[in-house]
């Protein structure tokens, strides 16, 4: 754990016992998060990014879950912490925003009451009146117009964007050190997405808030992230700074993700490129590199799992899991003059 790390995740493994066997949702994820840093975790559905995030707060705990590794918040280990201890971390030190603002508020309570509930769960001495004033202030700070009146609205009276703002206000109500935003913009319109990202970015700068942003949208990542972790089938396949990932991607899966972005500054392709095939079953993942079955550049060595390590002499923080040599990668990732993953023959 680096000295300035606020949150440190080490070799996190999360499996779920199912009728079909053990489903390994997360197979050894490690990262450090410093104050004020925005770490984006990118990957498609089922890559283990949400499970990773929820496990940090102990939300995946269940009799069927097999959780190993370490999650440290400053000096406290969270993975084996008791429920009471964990409860004090949730909301108070780590705030969380979820994907779907439509369903993340309880429909039968007023928005303000739900924020008040979050505050009073941790600050028993705060009066309801004071907590309500705080809720108004928070809603106002995330840009809810007429917050004084809207605090008494029910969630269904808010628009999607307003609900996500309110969700962020609630997650920040106790001024946590870490904010985990699990696909915070996926359910929103593009214009609202931009507003929410702007809001997160501002909060991150103003409050020096460490943020984990989980998304499958590289466009979102490009807007706000400092560092990027690309996940595939429960493992990190590449990580680096925003520039490293966008301008010198090393893993074919990252090429595929970048290649499938629509860009206004490029000629419009006839058909949006996609990565062929589907993610592997987590019940019986392929041996070796998990991306192997979908990778056009697969060769003999891929049957062996490559370690996540720095493979470029000049970029020690840029790690990936691919056996190809950096020269071969730079050559193979060029598809029609830009970064992409060529279609399989």
């Amino acid at each position: 754990m680096s000295p300035q790390a606020l949150l440190s995740v080490k070799d996190l493994r999360v499996g779920f016992a199912t009728e079909g066997g053990l489903l390994q949702a997360v197979g050894g994820v490690s990262f450090d998060l410093a104050a004020g840093e925005v770490l984006a975790i990118v990957g498609e559905s089922g890559s283990g990014k949400s499970v990773t995030a929820q496990t940090i707060l102990g939300l995946t705990r269940s009799p069927n879950a097999r959780i190993e590794g370490s999650v440290r918040l400053r000096d406290a280990e969270l993975l084996d912490a008791g429920e009471d201890e964990l409860r004090k971390v949730r909301g108070e030190r780590i705030g969380m925003v979820f994907q779907d603002p439509m369903t993340s508020f309880n429909p039968v309570y007023r928005v303000g009451a739900q924020i008040v509930e979050a505050i009073r769960a941790h600050r028993h001495d705060v009066s309801s009146q004071a907590a309500n004033d705080r809720a108004v202030e928070l809603l106002d700070s995330v840009g809810i117009p007429d917050a004084e009146r809207r605090v008494d609205d029910y969630p269904h009276e808010f628009s999607g964007g307003m609900r996500q703002r309110a969700m962020i206000a609630m997650a920040l109500s106790l001024e946590p050190e870490v904010l985990i935003a699990d696909e915070p913009t996926t359910a929103l319109d593009v214009t609202i997405q931009a507003q929410i990202l702007r809001l997160l970015e501002g909060l991150n700068r103003e409050r020096n808030l460490a943020t984990i942003l989980i998304t499958h949208d590289l466009g979102v990542v490009a807007e706000v992230a400092d560092r990027v972790m690309v996940m595939y089938a429960g493992r990190v396949v590449e990580e680096g700074t925003l520039d490293e990932i966008f301008y010198d991607p090393q893993h074919p899966y990252t090429w595929g993700l970048l290649g499938s972005l629509t860009r206004l500054d490029r000629p419009r392709p006839a058909r949006l490129p996609q990565i062929s095939g589907a993610p592997p079953s987590l019940l019986a993942p392929p041996t070796g590199c998990a991306f192997r079955p979908r990778c056009p550049h697969e060769f003999g060595k891929c049957a062996e799992l490559p370690a996540l390590e720095a493979r470029l002499a000049d970029a020690p923080s840029h790690c990936d899991r691919c056996w190809l040599s950096p020269e071969r990668k730079r050559e193979k990732r060029q598809v029609a003059g830009q970064i992409g993953l060529e279609a399989p023959a």
Partner: protein, 319 residues
């Protein structure tokens, strides 16, 4: 709200009209139901039957008979063909016993239904859940008369703990009132305890998977608060709806068997006796009485439902 009430009242009049027509029609087509024949007795002279028909107006056309019966029901002048007593008065006499039985049973089934459902859902898969599941299914499957028989056998015959029958008015002696009603209450409640606990259990298991429950946990609420304020509160909405309908239906006829078995002398027992005697006037009045409560509690349920779930607004109050 005014429009809602007006609409519901109109609906109620329509329902009562249709129900009364049905009862009247059925009564006039089932065999051996000719009231004049029955009043005259077996092997009566045709002339006697004829004179009874004229006295009671049975020779009038059916629509006229129907209309005159409706007039009498609502003016309180309806007379039974059997004992020739005033029907409405007899129903009013029976109301305290019927309401005591139904309200008490409702409190019991709601309390135990929610308790067992909550325990089952929060311990899903555990031994308590399994035991309660078996108990609920048994409660739902065993017919009321059998439950009554078993309870009577166990608690009035094997162990002489409770009285087997009779009703003591609440104001005469509250202790005796409750003492006499305990067996009937449980007899009537068992089915719904089983049913409600199953419904609540499955609702709660669904709600536990909702995003907002995860949100509640993520903001650091303790587990009990998550379960009660977020899971149970939301899971109760459909249960309360069900309760409104069931309670109306229980007063409106669901308690007949229980009342009759325990001789409580309520409206239900009056209904049971009138059916045996094919006595149309009380059957008509009791059916209307029952239908009224079913419709009434339907409307009450809608109001309560709108209160419990803010996403629902009664038609006119949204303006």
């Amino acid at each position: 709200m005014a429009r809602f009430v007006a609409r519901r009242l109109a609906g109620m009049v329509l329902v009562l009209f249709v129900v009364s027509l049905l009862v009247f029609a059925i009564f006039n087509v089932i065999p051996n139901s000719d009231p004049a024949q029955r009043m005259a007795g077996k092997n009566a002279e045709p002339i006697l039957v004829k004179s009874i028909e004229e006295d009671w107006g049975f020779d009038e056309p059916l629509p006229v008979q129907y209309w005159s019966m409706m007039e009498k029901v609502f003016s309180g002048e309806l007379i039974s063909y059997g004992d020739e007593l005033n029907v409405d008065e007899r129903i009013l006499e029976g109301i305290p016993a019927t309401f005591s039985l139904c309200i008490g049973a409702a409190v019991i089934w709601l309390f135990f239904g929610i308790l067992f459902g909550y325990l089952s859902a929060t311990r899903a898969g555990g031994w308590l859940d399994r035991a309660l599941t078996v108990g609920s299914v048994a409660g739902i499957s065993i017919p009321v008369f059998l439950i009554a028989a078993v309870l009577l056998y166990l608690f009035t015959y094997k162990i002489e703990l409770f009285p087997a029958s009779g009703y003591v008015p609440l104001l005469d002696d509250p202790l005796q009132w409750a003492y006499h009603l305990i067996l009937p209450w449980f007899t009537l409640a068992v089915l719904n305890i089983g049913f409600y606990s199953r419904v609540l259990r499955s609702n709660m298991l669904d709600v536990m998977r909702e995003d907002y429950v995860r949100t509640a946990r993520a903001k650091g609420l303790d587990e009990r608060r998550v379960l009660i304020r977020h899971v149970l509160r939301n899971s109760l909405i459909p249960v309360i709806t069900l309760f409104g309908l069931d309670f109306g239906a229980t007063i409106g006829g669901g308690a007949i068997i229980t009342e009759a078995i325990f001789s409580l002398g309520g409206v239900g027992q009056y209904a049971a006796d009138s059916i045996t005697n094919l006595d149309l006037p009380p059957l008509m009045a009791i059916t209307l009485f029952g239908a009224f409560f079913v419709v009434f509690f339907n409307a009450v349920t809608d109001v309560v439902y709108a209160y419990l779930d803010p996403r629902i607004r009664l038609g006119s109050s949204a303006q």
